[in-house]
Symmetry: C2
Subunit: 161 residues, 2 copies
């Protein structure tokens, strides 16, 4: 339903949004998001191509968010790596149908449209706001508790990309 690629991309983006302004290597992102590093590298390349993430080479290089997490939506991330496709015309190319979808494809398109609306409404920033009793993405503890007890780890590595 939601592809593994899209879910992994969201984990990576949430990580970068949670560390906005910091640069992190793919190894570091992989360690926290639990996305295999090879798979993650391909996803990060897609996010860089789409302009959502910046990549900086060199000893202090790594990945940073290229867009404010308050403006970036879940939809933007999904579309960058594994786009949601609406059904605009008959997939069987039946000429008599054209854009007048049959009930089967109308249903499927309505469902896709509904998912699209849900994803457009949610910013990445909103996913980081801790709610009472809620857990924080990718972390054992609420972010604040983590920040109070341990300094943020920043481990740029040579040749990170």
């Amino acid at each position: 339903m939601i592809s593994q690629t899209a879910e992994y991309a969201l984990r990576a983006i949430v990580f970068l949004a949670d560390h906005e302004g910091e640069s992190h290597t793919s190894e570091r992102i992989s360690a926290t998001t639990k996305v295999p590093v090879g798979y993650l590298s391909k996803i990060l390349q897609g996010l860089v191509r789409a302009g959502l993430v910046n990549s900086q080479r060199g000893p202090y290089g790594g990945f940073t968010l290229a867009v404010s997490s308050e403006k970036l939506t879940v939809y933007d991330v999904v579309q960058a790596v594994d786009p949601i496709h609406r059904i605009h015309g008959c997939p069987l190319e039946i000429s008599g149908h054209g854009v007048n979808l049959c009930p089967l494809h109308r249903l499927l398109d309505n469902v896709v449209a509904s998912v699209e609306r849900s994803f457009r409404k949610v910013t990445i920033h909103s996913l980081l706001l801790d709610r009472e009793g809620g857990s924080h993405p990718l972390c054992e503890f609420p972010r604040q508790e983590l920040a109070d007890n341990a300094p943020a780890v920043r481990r740029p590595k040579p040749g990170a990309s």
Copy 2:
């Protein structure tokens, strides 16, 4: 979003529901649904295993619907071939999260749950009911018009499976 396998399975089921009581070979179903016959055969095997379709070998063999289309839902078909998976626990297996999903995975599960609800509500039979100005699944013409002008084609072939 909705996998090709699921969409193809729905085409095949809609075809069989539209020809309820008739037996059709995979070649015939492929010709109308425009699903490549090799791919379709695998999907039909899955539908047979799930008990939604009957397969009969021999010179008058072929596939028939095993369940009334009025009781069969879109959800049943999708689950038979490419199941929708809800997110019941933290996919990162963060022990502190458990079933208390973070906002990212709560959002994704809510979206999946909403798709599941939509698919559970719709029977295959309801997809065949022609609405004013609407097109009929897999057909150039409304089914009634088709029935008036041309007899239903039944072409069982030897060794159909």
